[in-house]
């Protein structure tokens, strides 16, 4: 297993933890999706894999990358992990790059300083990578500043940088959410191509369930810091078992579906809202009184699990 998150709980002030006993796994060559609304804790999870925890956070559980627990690593080993084993792609490419440094610097920096490659070699590799991600005239791009490139091109640069160290695991945190639809499609195609070529494990984080269902092999749905459903993509899409998943699918319009939109009532919980039982109960159309006391735990269903009391019967 490339990545194995076991019972991860992260708390940072607030009345409830950001993540509560979350478990998931990503294998080599697998694309695993993590879906949730803003505030569900999905970004925190991704950052936890790199041990970029929020200030003052307390974490329990384990995050194993190729068998080693990230949360218990010493700083040197951690830097090594960040430099060569796991790479992350972020939502806003424009803020991911240092605006006063050239694109070339951004790419070679990691290679030169953390991997110790000689400058000339790093430069050559950077040019190669820029070409590999589909940028024309890579030599020119190397000399340019971030503000001279479009959002789509910048995202390609970010992908190139992520690949610079030949990582085994790629974390894509809303990597396409800030892009326009066409660029989004291009970036996704690029990601898929690269992932297949290098057999990378990928954790694909998004708020768009439809996107996850079509792009990923397996999807985990996150709500209020807990995994509420975890199934193979196709099955999840066709037969969602948790009311939240079903609600999400129902409130997204589709071109060939004339059904009226039914948004989920209420709002996603903040860190000040505590729940004795199931966190989705206040908004769930099928909730019963007993749900408010039922502590969510995964219930096996076909292909995976879902955390709903109604499935326990």
């Amino acid at each position: 297993m490339l990545l194995s998150v076991e019972e991860l709980t992260i708390a940072a002030g607030g009345r409830r933890p950001i993540l509560r006993e979350v478990s998931l796994a990503v294998g080599k060559g697998e694309i695993v999706g993590l879906v949730g609304e803003s505030g569900s804790g999905k970004s925190t999870l991704a950052r936890a894999v790199l041990r970029l925890l929020p200030a003052g956070a307390a974490a329990s559980g384990r995050v194993l990358v190729s068998g080693e627990d990230v949360l218990a690593m010493d700083p040197g080993r951690l830097r090594d992990l960040r430099a060569s084993q796991v790479s992350m792609i972020y939502q806003d490419p424009r803020s991911s790059l240092n605006p006063v440094r050239r694109v070339g610097d951004f790419l070679t920096e990691r290679m030169v300083h953390t991997l110790g490659r000689p400058k000339a070699e790093a430069r050559a590799r950077a040019v190669e990578l820029l070409a590999a991600v589909g940028l024309r005239d890579p030599e020119l791009r190397m000399r340019q500043y971030p503000h001279e490139l479009s959002g789509g091109m910048l995202q390609r640069v970010v992908v190139a940088a992520a690949l610079a160290a030949d990582p085994a695991l790629l974390l894509a945190d809303e990597a396409t959410s800030a892009l326009d639809v066409t660029t989004q499609a291009e970036t996704l195609a690029l990601l898929r191509e690269i992932q297949a070529e290098r057999e990378l494990g990928m954790l694909f984080i998004t708020h768009d369930l439809h996107l996850a269902a079509s792009f990923c092999d397996r999807v985990h749905v996150l709500y209020a810091g807990t995994v509420v459903e975890s199934r193979p993509a196709k099955e999840l899409f066709e037969d969602p078992r948790h009311p939240y998943t079903a609600g999400l699918l129902a409130c997204t319009p589709e071109l060939d579906d004339p059904r009226p939109l039914r948004p989920i009532p209420g709002r996603p919980p903040s860190l000040d809202d505590t729940f004795a039982g199931c966190p989705f109960a206040p908004r769930c159309p099928r909730a019963a009184d007993a749900c408010e006391e039922w502590s969510p735990r995964p219930v096996t269903v076909s292909g995976g699990s879902a955390a709903c009391r109604l499935l326990e019967a």
């Binding site: 950052r47 790199l50 970029l52 830097r79 090594d80 992990l81 960040r82 430099a83 060569s84 790479s87 992350m88 972020y90 806003d92 803020s95 991911s96 790059l97 240092n98 605006p99 006063v100 440094r101 920096e109 990691r110 300083h113 953390t114 500043y145 503000h147 001279e148 940088a161 160290a165």
Partner: protein
């Protein structure tokens, strides 16, 4: 760019106009005022002054003539020393410039260092630096000067008390001059670095495995430099005016103390000249800093 230069020119003209016109704002006859307000002003002397300053010409003509003369280095004659004002200035300018340069080095080096320290260490170091700098800005330079002279000059005897031109002599004055600036620069540095540290690209750099030290230097500090350099420039610009108090407090023989002396002896030509010099220097340096913005921050540059 052209607009900024035009603005520079306009401001220079406006301020020089104010400085020139001040002699007319004085109560009483400008002649007496320009003659130095001394007693025993004979009619012949007054007539000579009137002729020398062309006081019978229309106001604007006088202004133009004054400005033209100033541009060519003819700043008139001191009523006290009876020397050419230009010569007086030139004799004292090196020591003042030396003082300002010394102070500039001090506040840049220590100001930035303190700011970086406060930003990186945080916690108690941070509070200490902030409290310290706040206190430093609450003490006027002349109080600092007298306190330093008392402590380090007389009590401990480490530094000479008055006068002199050597580096050693100029240390206490330079420290006094630099203190306020140091507080401001350390504050700006700290603020700028704290802002930069929160930016996404810093997290990205950290996530790619760079060591903290490299991150601070290459990303945080580099990004923070813009406001810091700008502020350093602006503060230095105003420093020439600060020499007025410091030179007086330490008994130094520079342009600042010349101004105070000139005012107290009603030597208006010298007063005007020194004011013109200081104000012009200030306007020039601030405009230069403004024009240099594209060099400091690539985003401000026009696309190639």
């Amino acid at each position: 760019m052209v607009r900024k230069l035009a603005g520079l020119l306009v401001t220079l003209l406006a301020t020089s106009f104010v400085i020139f016109g001040a002699s007319y704002a004085a109560p009483g006859d400008p002649v007496t005022f320009l003659a130095g307000g001394k007693e025993n002003l004979t009619p012949e002397y007054l007539a000579a002054v009137r002729a020398e300053y062309h006081l019978d010409d229309p106001f604007l003509v006088q202004y133009a003539r004054w400005l033209g003369d100033a541009a060519t280095g003819d700043l008139g004659r001191s009523t006290q020393y009876n020397d050419q004002v230009f010569d007086l200035l030139m004799a004292r300018l090196p020591s003042t410039l030396g003082l300002v340069a010394y102070a500039a080095v001090l506040f840049v080096v220590f100001g930035v260092a303190l700011g970086v320290l406060a930003a990186v260490r945080g916690g108690r170091t941070d509070s200490a630096v902030v409290a310290g700098t706040t206190f430093a800005t609450s003490v006027p330079p002349f109080v600092v000067a007298t306190a330093l002279i008392s402590l380090f000059g007389v009590q401990l005897g480490w530094f000479p008390v008055m006068g002199g031109r050597s580096l050693w002599h100029l240390t206490l004055p330079a420290v006094t001059l630099a203190l306020g600036a140091l507080a401001i620069i350390s504050r700006v540095t700290r603020q700028s670095m704290v802002e930069q540290r929160e930016l996404d690209h810093v997290t990205v750099a950290r996530a790619s495995g760079l060591s903290e030290r490299l991150i601070v230097v290459r990303h945080v500090l580099r990004g923070a430099l813009g406001p810091i350099v700008t502020m350093c420039g602006l503060v230095t610009a105003g420093m020439l005016a600060g020499t007025v108090t410091v030179e007086t407090a330490f008994g130094l023989n520079g342009v600042g103390s010349l101004l105070v002396n000139a005012i107290n002896t009603h030597d208006f030509p010298v007063t005007q000249a020194v004011m013109l010099l200081m104000v012009s220097a200030y306007i020039l340096v601030t405009t230069l800093v403004d024009l240099a913005q594209p060099l400091i921050d690539p985003r401000v540059r026009r696309p190639a």
